[in-house]
Symmetry: C2
Subunit: 201 residues, 2 copies
Amino acid sequence: MIRILLADDEHLIRGAMAALLSLEDDLEVVAQAATGKEALATARIVRPDVAVIDLQMPDLDGVAVAQSLATELPTCGTMIVTSHGRPGHLKRALAAGVRGFLPKTVSSDVLATVVRTVHTGGRYVDPALAAEAISAGDSPLTPREADVLELALEGAPIDEIARRASLSPGTVRNYLSSAVGKTGASNRHEAARFARAKGWI
Amino acid sequence: MIRILLADDEHLIRGAMAALLSLEDDLEVVAQAATGKEALATARIVRPDVAVIDLQMPDLDGVAVAQSLATELPTCGTMIVTSHGRPGHLKRALAAGVRGFLPKTVSSDVLATVVRTVHTGGRYVDPALAAEAISAGDSPLTPREADVLELALEGAPIDEIARRASLSPGTVRNYLSSAVGKTGASNRHEAARFARAKGWI
DNA sequence: AAAACCCCATGACAGATGTCATGGTCGTCA
DNA sequence: TGACGACCATGACATCTGTCATGGGGTTTT
């Protein structure tokens, strides 16, 4: 019997997935959590075999949870399901020791199969997401450029970005200009959206 | 027995919700669809009692589906479930004749209850979403302002917006300036994000 | 009919932004 | 050690954007 921890902030979906996994004879949902922190706390207690974690959760990111789990419970396989999978997430997730990465568009059969695969130490990444990640390529942005571009995402004016990044406005403009060049965009807002789509920020 | 049509592009979630609804004695999922068009086509054939529709789907918006259903199958109650509920959607949905509006964070009990409520002709709107919608208020944007602001969402420069809207760049700037004033933002990008958050565009 | 509003446009101005050149510090790697 | 690149900053310039004033044409309301 594979003991599963299920974490997803959407109650309905979490419950539904639990119902669905429980239909399998060899799977058992032993715990559920609605937030990242809750997931970690619960995992420490129940020590599940496999953790199925939603990528976007209120407090702690799914990848962050995976990272903590990898060190605290090395025997627990971690897999991530997500609605909007961006390339960067996949890369970060794999780096965090995640062994399964699925969009929520897959069928329940696949989900169950992957749970078993992960439990036996295997890996599974959704082919479509993998292809996307490969085509997205590595980020050409330097860490600072990425930082600044991320602050630009919300549309803030440069002075505010400079304040938030503790940089001079001129420096911010240089980084943004460089980022705009690298992304082929025509202004920082487009560049920020592009980088977000690629999963670079 | 209440006959339900389930539409959601995320296979896993759709299947899971179906499994969950089927646990109820008086509910029966008679059809499923992954896109808006598919939902409409299927609905015409199976003529369900209640349609449970996801808001965001590839081709046709959940609200658009509801609108068509309202005229084609007036006996069929329509309810919408959504992950990211923005105020504007709720308003549009209600105008389209939707009688139930829920975030996916609700429990399965609530979902089943609301299905029954909608089936008997009642209405149910999630309290949190209703409060948000009320606090968001009506859009102060004129139709044209909303159009232009929507084109500005992607970060395009003004010239491109002007081309796409078939307007002179000067006019675009006027509309945007007006929108920026109304939203209290400091530039069009911030204004666009704000309006999006409020559900105005 | 006048008022009020939306639509579209132009011109002018100030301030924000993108680009480029330049230069210094620091760490890494050959 | 020297080359390289990331990091931070400044100044100058051209362009883009936001704002305001102005005006004509249209519809709806009063």
